[in-house]
């Protein structure tokens, strides 16, 4: 094992899959000359040529639509959208075509493609560039939606997504590109399944049910809580859909308390979905109401201090835990 960044992990995943399978192509805006907005695709065009690594016009609908067409014709496209916010311009292709083709045509045509896109706030990108909209897509039958939190998962899940027979949305967090983590050596083949979460930290007192960048916030909160004698379990639900509900339920069975933590907005979102399923299937295991830590219900503000106020921080998680973990547990 060596230590690489999340960005490098994603690049390695694409590179290895392109070496392994000539059907794999990469398509997106500024992915060649610029190496991608977050430099994830840097060097791929030089290595694999400008046909397989295709810069496109500034046109999201054709990035996804052409990738859908290429996938239906037998290729394995990886489409990069500059940010998830721009995926709205391509959402008709994602929702009405990619998600539905296999079902609509009784299984005879399918769309094996990946759409990679960064989401999330915290870098002063403002209201229209800081959104986390995974629940919009996770709502749609026929789509797989995953959000890796570590370099290991970023590489393993992207490789699994490229090999998957159906459309996968891999949502990155723009503040994670620079984080480092242990990843097997280049060329060591591994994948991370697209339907399993992972317990990042064991604990007996409360389950922190979370995903993406908030996994790291929860880890920090858990360390702080441990100093006060509260042992929090951090459950990384990296697969938004299909959801690894058993993992969350098993954790709640042990801790009897849950705090759902996410960066996105509260209403009708991913966290409410998690909470509803835990109530529906794990009601008898709960000793307290599920708490929900979310972003504030406003478009992301620009000013640094306003933005900080709009997204969850470590102490929000600690406060939520203390609302439902009785003091007698702490010692």
């Amino acid at each position: 094992m060596r230590t690489i960044t999340y960005r490098e992990a994603l690049r390695e995943a694409m590179r290895e899959e392109m070496l392994r399978d000539e059907r794999v192509i990469v398509i997106g805006e500024d992915i060649d000359g610029y190496g991608g907005t977050y430099a994830v695709t840097k060097g791929l065009a030089d290595e694999f040529g400008r046909e397989r690594v295709r810069d496109t016009p500034l046109a999201e609908e054709v990035i996804v639509g052409a990738a859908v067409g290429a996938a239906m014709a037998g290729m394995r496209p990886v489409a990069e959208l500059m940010t998830m916010n721009f995926s709205l311009l391509a959402s008709d292709q994602i929702v009405n075509t990619a998600a539905k083709v296999r079902y609509m045509f009784g299984g005879q045509t399918h769309v094996p493609m990946v759409i990679r896109m960064p989401a999330g706030g915290g870098a002063q990108r403002g209201a229209q560039h800081s959104q986390t909209l995974e629940s919009w897509y996770a709502h749609i039958p026929g789509l797989k939606v995953v959000m890796p939190a570590t370099p290991y998962d970023a590489k393993g899940m992207l490789k699994a997504a490229i090999r998957d027979e159906d459309p996968v949305l891999l949502i990155e967090h723009e503040l994670l590109y620079g984080i480092k983590g242990e990843v097997p050596d280049e060329g060591v083949d591994f994948t991370v399944p697209l339907n399993r979460g992972e317990v990042r930290r064991e604990g007996r007192d409360v389950s922190l049910i979370t995903f993406s960048r908030c996994v790291h916030l929860c880890m920090q909160a858990a360390e702080e809580l441990a100093k006060e004698g509260i042992e929090a379990e951090v459950v990384d639900m990296r697969c938004i859909r299909p959801i690894d509900l058993d993992l969350a339920l098993d954790s709640v069975k042990k801790t009897n308390r849950a705090v759902v933590v996410e960066e996105g907005w509260k209403y009708y979102g991913t966290g409410q979905g998690f909470a509803a399923l835990i109530y529906e299937y794990g009601f008898d295991d709960l000793d307290a109401p599920i708490q929900h830590v979310t972003g504030v219900d406003v478009p992301a503000p620009y000013a640094k201090n306003l933005e900080k106020a709009a997204f969850p921080v470590r102490n929000d998680i600690i406060d939520a835990v203390k609302r439902i973990v009785p003091q007698r547990v702490a010692r």
Binding site: I25, E51, R52, R54, T56, P57, A59, E61, V62, V64, G65, A66, A67, V68, G69, A70, A71, M72, A73, G74, M75, P77, D92, Q93, N96, T97, K100, V101, R102, Y103, M104, F105, G106, G107, Q108, T109, H110, P141, G142, K144, D164, E165, D166, P193, N195, R196, R241, P242, I243, D244, L245, D246, L277, E280, Y281
Partner: protein
């Protein structure tokens, strides 16, 4: 007298075209049979709708020559076709059996297009390389560009031909697809079947240019206008577009002007492409009135039998509602949705 002169001129033009295109009597009779069969299938689909058997679907009436002509150069099994909801005649001409059309219209379990999962007139066939995902106007133009891009990457020499009405050219998808295809010289043919009215909106309320083909200039590709009631003219234009695509010269925007005909059962319309070809073939002795009547009777008998069989076929089993969402081996622990591969808790 004037009318007869017009007709003589038309016949002379057709004579010249069939020589240029090197089309024999058999070729013309095959085109006529394809057009006539589409007309007869279309009439049966209209009857089914009128009888309340099937919701949805649009007529190809008047579009037969445009569609049969456009797929004449198509290499079935190699080239891709991305139709829109009027392209019944194109589908039948490349080998989609009428049985499949009926089973799909009636959403039967044995519907080879979708297994009863897709509304009529959005046909799909892996074997025939028919890719239709478009109940949404113009989205197929993007897929055609992507398929052509894939074909070019693989040096497959396949062409993607996609069809749409003139209203579709107002969509953003159309612009993005043509821009991308023009930029990369992709082997794709964009066929606009222009009947002048999008649902209720006339072309003059749809665009500020006189012709859809005028739009091609903005994408660096030729825009060609052809009379869609004349199957030979369409074949000629389509062959040129396929030749351009196959030889690496890039896409073509082909605007086929199609007539809007009255409803089935009304008086013969002089613009009716099926009627025009019939009159010509009879005048040249390629087809006798008796052989024409026999062809109609044979086609009708075959279609009626196919329709009867389709009506007798079973509906899909409701227990299969969750099938075909993901690949069969796609594991999922989702408890709430058996369709995701999970099981009820």
């Amino acid at each position: 007298m004037r009318r007869q002169d017009d007709e003589r001129m038309r016949f002379a033009r057709l004579d010249a075209r069939r020589i240029t295109l090197d089309l024999q009597a058999d070729d013309l009779l095959r085109a006529y049979r394809n057009m006539l069969r589409a007309r007869l299938v279309d009439e049966r689909l209209a009857e089914l709708r009128a009888q309340g058997y099937a919701a949805g679907g649009a007529s190809c009436r008047g579009h037969e020559a445009a569609q049969v002509g456009c797929v004449e150069p198509l290499n079935v099994g190699l080239d891709y076709i991305l139709p829109y909801y009027r392209d019944l005649a194109a589908l039948l001409a490349i080998g989609m059996p009428p049985e499949a059309i009926f089973l799909n219209q009636l959403s039967r379990a044995t519907d080879p297009i979708s297994g009863g999962r897709m509304r009529p007139a959005q046909w799909n066939s892996r074997a025939l390389r028919v890719v239709s995902a478009s109940g949404l106007v113009a989205t197929q133009t993007l897929h055609a560009a992507g398929i052509a891009f894939a074909a070019k990457l693989r040096h497959e020499n396949a062409v993607a031909v996609t069809f749409f009405g003139e209203g579709a050219t107002s969509e953003g998808d159309f612009h993005e697809a043509l821009n991308f295809a023009g930029l990369h010289h992709l082997p794709v043919i964009f066929v606009c079947e222009n009947n002048g009215i999008a649902l209720s909106t006339p072309q003059s309320a749809q665009m500020s240019v006189a012709h859809v083909a005028d739009r091609a200039a903005g994408y660096g590709m030729p825009g060609v206008i052809v009379d869609g009631s004349d199957v030979l003219a369409v074949i000629g234009a389509a062959r040129e577009a396929f030749m351009r695509a196959r030889s690496g010269l890039g896409p073509t925007l082909l605007e086929v002007i199609v007539p809007r005909l009255g409803p089935a059962g009304s008086m013969p319309d002089p613009h009716d492409p099926v009627e025009q070809l019939r009159v010509y073939l009879i005048s040249r002795g390629d087809l006798s009135p008796e052989a024409d009547a026999q062809m109609r009777a044979d086609l009708a008998a075959g279609l009626d039998a196919a329709l009867k069989a389709a009506l007798a076929a079973p509906l899909p089993d409701p227990a299969t509602v969750g099938e075909h969402l993901f690949a069969p081996d796609s594991a999922s622990p989702s408890p709430t949705n058996p369709a995701d591969g999970g099981k009820e808790r």
